[in-house]
Each structure stands twice: as structure tokens, then as C-alpha cells.
């Protein structure tokens, strides 16, 4: 038997390096995160404020977004999901809550974690605020915020009937 006959598997590691561009429109958003400011963008067409500013365009109007708008930091839960299912790579203790949060002054919600309260207490309309990592760990990333927690303010009326599922 030749040596080649014994080869059953070949490992061929390969890597590809990319130069990723945030683009001019997302840059002010990312720079804002470097100093703890939440910067969104306003569409010059429909005036909606996008946070994050997606790809720098308004998907409704097909226009490049315009002026920077500082939003939040507080916001309101528009919908949420209690996660009870373990999965590979899970970093957070079950159960936990993933919520859509509408930051004050923004017109689209963003997804983040809700912590520092029981999962059963989370509700639509609940007011929340961001909890930031230690400043020394900040980068141009929404990961600067570890999670959101309840502010204790009265709920905002989101037009959802109490008890509605």
C-alpha cells in the first residue's frame, strides 16, 4: 500500500481577509458610540429617524439619509420574546428577554437584551434604559451596551390592550 492510499481526509484551512466599509452614512453613528452617544439619521424624504441608520438609506423612500439625530438613551419596549431554549454558544442565563426597543426620538426599534428584572415582569410599553460597559471597553459598536434595564417610569401607552396576547 502506498502512502497516498492511506490518506482519507485532507485538511485545507483557508482564510479570506476583507476591508469592510461602514460607509459615510453609518460613520457618525459608529463614532457616536465611541463616546456613548446614540446617533441616528433622519430621512430627508419622510422625516423618519433611523437608529441604527441601517445601510445609510431610507428603505421606504430610496434616499440617502440626511442629518444626524441624537436619540434615547431611554426607550420603550414595543415587543419582546422570553427565551427559554438552550442553544449552542449561548452566553446568557435562561430565561432571558430579547426585546425590540424604540429609543426616544427614533422611529424604528432596535433589538437588545432586557436584564435586571424577572422575565415575567417584562411587558410592552415598559420604559427601559441602557447599561453601558466600562468605558475602557468601548469600541464603535452597539456592544458597548450590555443590556437595557427598567427605569421604573410609568409605562407608555403603545395602543395594546391590557392582557392581549
Amino acid at each position: 500500500m502506498s502512502e497516498a492510499d492511506g490518506i482519507m481526509r485532507l485538511r485545507q484551512p483557508i482564510s479570506v481577509t476583507y476591508n469592510w466599509s461602514a460607509g459615510p452614512n453609518a460613520t457618525s453613528h459608529l463614532n457616536g458610540l465611541l463616546d456613548g452617544t446614540l446617533v441616528g439619521k433622519r430621512c430627508p424624504g419622510c422625516s423618519l429617524v433611523y437608529f441604527p441608520p441601517r445601510n445609510g438609506v431610507c428603505p421606504k423612500c430610496a434616499r440617502i439619509l440626511g442629518e444626524d439625530v441624537v436619540v434615547g438613551p431611554r426607550g420603550t419596549i414595543t415587543t419582546f420574546c422570553v427565551v427559554n431554549v438552550p442553544f449552542l454558544g449561548q452566553k446568557i442565563k435562561l430565561p432571558y428577554v430579547a426585546a425590540q426597543i424604540l429609543l426616544d426620538g427614533a422611529d424604528i426599534s432596535m433589538q437588545h437584551l432586557i436584564q435586571e428584572c424577572e422575565a415575567t415582569d417584562v411587558r410592552i410599553g415598559m420604559r427601559v434604559e441602557p447599561v453601558w460597559k466600562d468605558r475602557s471597553e468601548w469600541g464603535p459598536s452597539l456592544e458597548n451596551i450590555t443590556h437595557f434595564r427598567p427605569t421604573g417610569e410609568p409605562d407608555r401607552d403603545m395602543g395594546v390592550e391590557a392582557g392581549a396576547s
Partner: protein, 352 residues
């Protein structure tokens, strides 16, 4: 079912560049808005949107979904995406119009070719079992093909340099071409090999680009363009993915596609061939029987600006523009995909 008359009625291309700092969506949005403005159509009248791009080029799975942001998809639209060149998306749109489901379609494509090592990334188009794991590099595969052609005596290095010199000189007249130079074949042959037997000028220059085209059927086309570029024939053929099982010195899929598209039925004034390598243009010309009377790649072609996944649709845009302007009556546009001219799409268009 009778075939519907379909024409390209407008095109838009952004100037090709290297190292763009825009996102793909920011690259696309202006060309879409441009092409819509050119025909003055309301967005709601566009019955189908079709996009060609490659997620591996941005290194983000499902990054093509973000391109919908550039469309203005409200009220909801009908759209599709092809993981490939925009010319293949144009073919899908043409089929969609043939079904009668819409009369007007917008096709667009983008390639941020310089944000990653495109020679390595394009390996993912090769046979995933036998070729991709070896990561041979697209330039190397093309070099093997060129070597086979040289050994078989079907072309010479001087022939290849002649293709490059003509392309670089023609590009001087194309404001959106990236590489351009008043150069002779002799001068090019004095330059060093990069991947022997290929020299730098034998390989298309990777650039970042985006383009968009509007297709329309019958009366809709007549209402949108003074002189639409009517699609008389279009055909897409694929050679086997097994590189050792096909001839490297000819392109049988290109020959069949060209014959089915009707390329040989009458003279062709201009042929825009998507040949990312010089020897491939020669193989394509031969497969399609293009003679002296046909001006090949007056735009400079993909050799002088090769925005991967947009370079094929760019050929359609260039060919159609020559019909719009009246500088040509019968034109051919071609797109290739995969290693060594594996796939070939050929389209013949005419002005009224």
C-alpha cells in the same frame, strides 16, 4: 405561447473605482434612481426587480437582502436575487416578462470587488468537491486555460497582447472605465508575467462598480425609449463543472448560446464580450464566429474594469447604449460566470 418583444430601454452605470468606502447599498442606490429618472417611470409601474451580486464578496451571509433598502420597497414590490452576475438577473427578468406577470422590470447589480481577495473568493464558484478545496485561484485557472491554448497553437501571446492593447486604447473614450492607456501590443509584451503565461494586462482589473437596466415589453418599451434595444435572442449554456472533462481550447457553451441567440443570422455591429482574460475574448470571438466587421468591446470591456458580478450586466448596458445612440443597429452582449468560461449567456439586440 408567442414570445413577447422585450427591450432594454435605459441603463445607468457608476464610474468604476478602486477601494470604494461606500457600502454596497450606497453604491447601488444612485444607479437605481438614475435609471428610473432617465425613463421617468413611477416606481409602482416596475413590476419586477431583480438583483445580481455575490455574498462571498462582502463576506456577509444574506448581505444581498440589504440591497432591497436601495429599492424603496414600499408599497411592497416583487423582487428576486441571483447569486451571480447581474446579466443572469436580466435573464430571469426577461423570463418573468415572458410569463406575462409584468411589463417592466428593473435589473441591477453591484460588485465591491476590491474589498477582498477576489481571485481567492471566486473559487467558491468552482466545483465544491474537487476544485474549490484546492483553492487554485481564478487567475491560475485562467492561466492553465491560456497555456493549453498556447500549446495547442490556437492563439499566441502576441494575440493576447493585441486584445489588451485595443481594450486599453478603446477605454480612453469611456469615461467610466478604470484602466486606460495608449499602448501597443509590443509594449505590453515587454512587461513581466504575473501568473505565467498571463501578464497583468491579460487579467481584468478588479474594481468596485454598480449598474442598473430597465427592461420593458412591447408598447411599454416604445413609450419609454426613443430607440429601444430589442432582444431578438437570448440563451444561457453551461459547460461541465469538471474542468478535466471539457476542452480548454474552445468554448462549446458559448458557441451553442450564440447560435441559439441568433448571432449568426446577420452581421453584428458591436459585440460586448465579458472576457475577464485576454485569451478568453479570443475563444469567445471564435465560438461566436465574430468577424472583422464586428467591433468587439468598444467600451474597453471587462479587461479595463472588472466589477465582479456587475461586469456582465455592464456589457448589456454598453451594447444597449450603442443602439440607443444609433451608433449600432445589431449588437451582441455576453456574460460569463465560473472558471474558464464555464457559463455563457448571449443576447442579440437590435434597434428598430
Amino acid at each position: 405561447m408567442a414570445r413577447r418583444d422585450v427591450a432594454i430601454v435605459a441603463t445607468a452605470q457608476r464610474p468604476n473605482e478602486v477601494g470604494s468606502t461606500l457600502t454596497s447599498v450606497e453604491l447601488i442606490l444612485p444607479v437605481i434612481n438614475d435609471v428610473i429618472t432617465k425613463v421617468g417611470i413611477e416606481r409602482q409601474k416596475i413590476g419586477f426587480w431583480c438583483h445580481g451580486s455575490c455574498d462571498y464578496m462582502s463576506g456577509q451571509p444574506f448581505s444581498f437582502v440589504a440591497a432591497v433598502d436601495a429599492i424603496g420597497a414600499w408599497p411592497p414590490i416583487v423582487e428576486s436575487h441571483v447569486e451571480g452576475d447581474g446579466a443572469l438577473a436580466l435573464y430571469e427578468a426577461w423570463v418573468k416578462i415572458q410569463t406575462g406577470e409584468c411589463d417592466v422590470a428593473l435589473v441591477f447589480s453591484n460588485g465591491k470587488t476590491t474589498s477582498g481577495p477576489i481571485d481567492r473568493i471566486l473559487n467558491l464558484q468552482a466545483d465544491p468537491y474537487m476544485v474549490t478545496p484546492l483553492w487554485p485561484g481564478f487567475d491560475s485557472l485562467a492561466a492553465l486555460q491560456a497555456r493549453a491554448c498556447l500549446d495547442a497553437g490556437v492563439l499566441s501571446e502576441a494575440d493576447m497582447a493585441e486584445v489588451a492593447a485595443r481594450s486599453y486604447r478603446d477605454a480612453l473614450n469611456n469615461p467610466i472605465a478604470y484602466a486606460k492607456e495608449n499602448v501597443t501590443a509590443e509594449q505590453l509584451l515587454a512587461r513581466p508575467y504575473t501568473t505565467a503565461p498571463l501578464r497583468a494586462h491579460d487579467c481584468g482589473v478588479p474594481v468596485d462598480g454598480a449598474n442598473a437596466i430597465i427592461l420593458a415589453a412591447g408598447d411599454a418599451a416604445r413609450g419609454l425609449a426613443g430607440r429601444p434595444a430589442w432582444i431578438r435572442g437570448i440563451d444561457h449554456r453551461i459547460d461541465t463543472q469538471r474542468l478535466g472533462a471539457r476542452s480548454m481550447v474552445e468554448s462549446s457553451s458559448a458557441a451553442i448560446a450564440a447560435a441559439n441567440a441568433g448571432a449568426g443570422d446577420d452581421r453584428i455591429d458591436i459585440a460586448e464580450l465579458h472576457a475577464p482574460y485576454t485569451h478568453q475574448e479570443i475563444l469567445l470571438r471564435r465560438a461566436m464566429n465574430l468577424g472583422e466587421g464586428t467591433h468587439v468591446n468598444p467600451s474597453g470591456g471587462a479587461l479595463v474594469s472588472n466589477p465582479a458580478m456587475a461586469a456582465g450586466l455592464a456589457r448589456f448596458a454598453e451594447a444597449a447604449e450603442s443602439v440607443f445612440s444609433g451608433s449600432a443597429d445589431r449588437v451582441l452582449a455576453h456574460c460569463t460566470s465560473g472558471p474558464m468560461l464555464q457559463q455563457n449567456l448571449v443576447c442579440v439586440m437590435e434597434g428598430d
